[in-house]
Symmetry: C3
Subunit: 303 residues, 3 copies
């Protein structure tokens, strides 16, 4: 209980935290599947709030980039730096990732980073997506995703890169790699991460159809590990972390590396080719037109 209170205070976002535990309805919040037209936000306020509890050795990372924690280049850069800092702090043994935005964990990649942008910019952006995944999937820390909202596409990838996934049991939330629904394709390392979690056949059907799963279905196929009422996601994550931290770090880390290294090596040894592949795909005129139509649709929905 003390720990729970401690985490709440550490987050320093009492207003936002109260939103996690309620069904706030902001009306304007638009959780679009996969791609998000992020409102430009030039403020220098951090998109991610990190609170490290030295007594427990656990860091809480609150994603707080309105409206839907879309993964922009700035967001991803800040995310990777934050994870790396914690990684280098040997007293930090565990990391809980959650959202302070209502109804959404992360809505995925920011469409504005790839619409009518130069190949150079698209390449830089994709490298940041790779970096986020590499940092999380290979982390020596115990990483737990406290999924307190919808988590499509890039948000799902972020969750899958953690060691354990606890999701709010709210049937209005969904999670999945739904790229094909938008005419784009999840790259091989998204696919590999999903296969390592739910197996070959479930991945095949999920990726080909771009399935978004309700929490109960996500639990059935193994996309998440546990469902709890929405107001217990963070406390359950904290309790679960205690269980994981009871295992000697050294043995757990070697074991984790043994399980994940082949998948990580596949990207690190093909990183540049993967970037080139993304850039040449996303800058195609046909794909840019699709993105443009999608953006128009989002604007109308908001209007």
């Amino acid at each position: 209980m003390a720990l729970r209170a401690g985490l709440r205070n550490k987050c320093g976002l009492s207003g936002l935290l109260s939103q996690w535990f309620s069904c706030s309805n902001h009306g304007r919040v638009c959780v679009s599947p996969f791609l998000v037209a992020q409102q430009r936000n030039n403020s220098t306020s951090p998109k991610i709030k990190v609170d490290f509890n030295q007594s427990t050795g656990v860091a809480l990372m609150c994603m707080q980039s309105p409206p839907v924690n879309s993964l922009s280049l700035d967001f991803l850069t800040e995310f990777s730096i934050a994870v790396e800092k914690l990684e280098m702090d040997k007293t930090c043994r565990g990391l809980i990732v959650t959202s302070s935005q209502p109804k959404v964990f992360s809505a995925g990649l920011d469409i504005m980073e790839m619409y009518r942008k130069s190949p150079e910019h698209c390449g830089e952006f994709w490298k940041a997506v790779q970096e986020m995944w590499l940092k999380l999937y290979s982390s020596n820390m115990v990483t737990i995703a406290a999924i307190n909202g919808s988590s499509p596409a890039g948000g799902c990838l972020m969750s899958l890169a953690c060691d354990y996934r606890i999701m709010a049991d709210n049937p209005r939330y969904t999670i999945g790699l739904n790229e094909t629904q938008l005419g784009i394709v999840a790259p091989f390392w998204f696919k590999d991460t999903m296969m390592n979690t739910v197996g070959h056949r479930t991945t095949e059907i999920a990726l080909e159809l771009g399935l978004l799963y309700k929490p109960s279905d996500a639990l059935t196929v193994g996309l998440v590990d546990q469902l709890v009422p929405e107001d217990q996601v963070l406390t359950t994550a904290t309790q679960t972390m205690t269980k994981w931290l009871a295992i000697p770090d050294h043995a757990r880390q070697i074991t984790k590396s043994m399980m994940r290294k082949p998948t990580i090596d596949k990207l690190t040894s093909n990183r540049e080719a993967d970037i080139q592949n993304f850039v040449s795909f996303i800058t195609k005129e046909s794909i840019q037109k699709s993105l443009g139509m999608y953006l128009e649709m989002l604007k109308k929905r908001k209007g």
Copy 2:
């Protein structure tokens, strides 16, 4: 409803179609596991009836080779040519494979193609089996198996090569790779296809014991995706196809290729060796004797 009616008419086999939806009992029909001693049929009537609905972009392929759609060299050649034709027609986006024979989808490889035949003939036959699988497993079309009868061995392989499997919920039907029960062995690409569908352990136990699953068990282990009453197999396949075709072709095709290419490459780069392996195994005197005994048994059963 219109589509359903359309498909029925297109198939042009009203007599045969009525058999799908009833439990016809021809008495003489012999659904033997895996190998079939096909009655020689020198007629030039097609073994496969293809109806392509241009308004939906979906082709219905009815296997109509009495008595049990056994996979003879002629049958396989006709099958592969039919698939290739549809593949090259860019207006054809989906393919439903089903049977017009009562109680059986396909009873598997035709034993007569490998009994007391020359190594050359056996090799040509095996190449045709490979070709059928390669065509289906790598198809750019959405492929759905409407499994309206038993589907052992080669029939199971054909089903597994599709994107989705809907089976009639009739406990008298079975499906599985039952080769070991007859003293022969499913080759590595049968095994790979099954592993991609149901995982390593289920494949291990299924192949070692040559298990034939009832529909309910097949659903439990994931060998089929859906069970419906026998008279709804085709309509469900048509409805499911609509769902799959809602996904942009290009994204779905790249995703499908990403999932299946490693498995396909394994055969294409070892195709000749796999043929030699089959020929040297099947032409062994001990195996030929087993086949002979099996043929005798089939004859007695029919008599």
Copy 3:
């Protein structure tokens, strides 16, 4: 029934066998997870009793090394020799492995073989662990584990190396690869064997947390294939063996090899490196200290 009686008699351990079918409580028996400080036993009595029933072609291997069938160098050597002898006897087609010790199948590797021992001794010991696994996992015989007690770590590995696992449905028994709980790491071939059985994700979470499963949970994740009341473990194993032996040996053996060869080849081609890896890890002073503390704890528990 006759067969069951035959097996009981053949085992020639009426006293011990009666313990299988009861919940004997010896009080002093210490089933510690993973590592066991085996009481030195310099007697020349065999640690494994093998009874081969020539009429059925099935051998029953009773592990009878008090108190908990810990896998010492002597035990492992005797085990591998016994399996090899049966393997070379072409009339022996099936092998059932079980325990004559109350409440335990095998408690895993003997800690005394790696505590304050020379690198040479540790290396010799590890080679014997490898050999046990290689012999079982690649056996041409049908191998069934009749798991009539707890089976942590090395005991679990032995079970996983068999073709089929039947466990006593006693909630006080556990099974799993719990190495990390003790600060050590299951090597890659333990991991591969488990992945082949329960898949990637279950293995990841099980190995990172060092999970020991109750029988009902072990069945759910697929770590065992069947649960039966404790007094029916051996009879069920015998009945199951009959089913497996109905499959022609030759086809089953080729199929088994096809499924397991890649996993076996990975160890055989890295065997020396795997030994060096183990020796350099286990002889670290920090690991030796952990083992020492563990031994002290075991002594106190016994005292």
